[in-house]
Symmetry: none
Subunit: 202 residues, 4 copies
DNA sequence: TATGAATGAGTGTTCATTCAT
DNA sequence: TATGAATGAACACTCATTCAT
């Protein structure tokens, strides 16, 4: 099932200087996303990605030293998309508004490509990739800042940040799994859970 | 390998009548648990399970028609353990007490074998196994009953049940992933999230 | 083994565009023929074929999606060789001459690689391959045409075609099995059987 | 596909002296016949036979030292059934009548259990079983005698015997494969082929 | 730089056969 | 003698990765 996977580099082989390379890299990553969405985990293999991207398997390995590196790149892409969006949350006046914005961003991203988001959450937990994926970390940092602002008196803001993130991930993933599409409903329930949690912890 | 996985049965091949068989079956399932915990997903293969169980690969297939069947058996084992415990929740007088008991049971089980619980949660979502794993269903049903008792006026008890389960799973899994061991703290935060959510939804 | 033989495609995976590929494909099919001849049915496995062809097992599966597909390809190779030859029979003036030519072609092919021909006849009857092998069909059609010309008054030309084919196959296979090498003798006896049959049926 | 199959004895382990043993042996052989007919070649395995016979796999090996030995026993059973019947042919006055009787016997046996007969013909040709199966030999001897009587002047009665047998086997097997059930038609066509052959060879 | 043919270790699964009970 | 649990060699097939062109 899972191939040998000798500890290969996880970072892209090169930061593509030429425009053409950049396009190729982007198309490969997008192909990876599509294959993951379409075929699921079991059908996520490098040859399928190459074919979907319309490039040779050799080209894939020209830009990514290993399958894991490709996965990491995909995670980074999804993460940074989210990150840019989420950074706006910090600009919001109140902590509460920032938190609400963040919740909205999570929901929006998740429901846009539900399968993909879930699969990536999943991949993120693989030991081999641990530390290479910044989503949790970055989002944790963001959350921590926001929570400190929203609940200045909280005793354990770091724990709260982790818990809030877990709540969001858990509920949003489950919603995606069920095929839920009603954004507003999901968002309001998420707010209930998050603010409920915060108001009842120190 | 026979990778492709022709639609094989997912239920055990025989219910072992002899004492020796029962032992073997149990040892295989326990070995599967250990391999999953130790080696993770990538190292979870039938040969490793057989070796860890101290039996031949043939014996594994004597009792389980496929790798997936073995996984399902493992899920069932963990689930029923949990289920027996959780059924007590229903006996509790108040809905609130029942819910608290359920939260406690979740925490206890999860923190006992954190890696295993997380990996099984994950496997449960595999399309191939869908419908064969009762955990979510059984727990959902339980939760639904409990929530109806705890919040008789709730407008959407089924949605609430799903959300509460997602919250519990999300927070508990994240705690397990972080290696958290403080049961009391985790439990009280879970109560905050769950009751916070319930008190703020209709 | 491929034991259960999940319904895999039976047609080759790609028509090799590069020269190197074509060579590899040809060498694999020829290796299959040799393994079948040398080791018989029992020793006909994909690893042996790969080894004999001097390629990796992966290469075999690059071109043939399954063992059965490889067998079918081998049958087709042998068949088309025969078919090209036999098509000439139709050009013969009289039905009788055409039939004699066909008999000669059968004998020649069979005695060239007796073991192979017999094993392929045998494989052809495997349910899994039914319909993918054109030999019987094509030869039947040919025979039918020829017999209609040779015996315009025959009441059941289709049955006669089937019977004549069975006679030829039966006698030629048996001769191959016995290690018979005298082409002329075999041919004259075949003519006796075929024309004897035709002259005595309506 | 085919298992290791170290050269094991091919003769039954014991000639069962006790009545119970004889019954068991018979039931095993009959089970083998049924499995072969029902599941075909690919499904013909010792465990299936044991199960169908209602005995343990151990018992099968108590009476037959190997799978091949079981196959040989089955061939013998079918053969001797045929043999007894066919021996009557010799009692017939004329060679012609004897030959006609033999043809009839072949047809009858074949169409009774078509799949079984074909599969056994097939097994008979396996090198590992060669020499252990008397069908061809016995029938050849019978045919030789009959042909000598029917065509005293024939130059090569042994070759004729082999050819006649090949014709019969070929036509009858093909008929079985096509699912033909009209005994009379098949018999008359066989007579045409056999006597046509004999009348045109020396 | 791009291609895609080639590689081969790894994996799931079967089934003839053995042997402790 | 009968049982059936256990064995493990054998086999079909996959897929991450390499490298000659």
């Amino acid at each position: 099932m899972s191939q040998p996977s000798p500890p290969k580099g996880l970072r892209p082989r090169k930061n593509p200087s030429q425009a053409r390379s950049a396009e190729t890299v982007a198309s490969i990553v997008e192909a990876a996303a599509q294959v993951l969405e379409t075929n699921g985990f079991e059908g996520f293999n490098t040859n399928a990605v190459a074919q979907r991207a319309g490039v040779s398997i050799g080209s894939v390995y020209q830009y990514f030293p290993s399958k894991d590196a490709l996965t990491v790149a995909l995670i980074h892409r999804e993460t940074s998309r989210f990150h840019d969006d989420a950074a706006n949350a910090l600009a919001k006046r109140s902590g509460k508004a920032a938190l609400e914005y963040l919740i909205g961003a999570s929901v929006r991203q998740q429901l846009q490509r539900p399968m993909l988001a879930r699969l990536l959450d999943l991949e993120e937990t693989r030991p081999a990739l641990r530390g290479e994926t910044a989503k949790s970390d970055a989002m944790s940092a963001l959350l921590l800042t926001i929570i400190k602002r929203a609940r200045p008196a909280h005793q354990h803001p770091d724990i709260a940040a982790a818990d809030v993130m877990a709540i969001i991930k858990g509920m949003v993933d489950a919603a995606g799994e069920r095929g839920e599409t009603d954004i507003d409903s999901l968002e309001s329930r998420l707010r209930a859970a998050v603010f409920g949690y915060l108001s009842r912890t120190g």
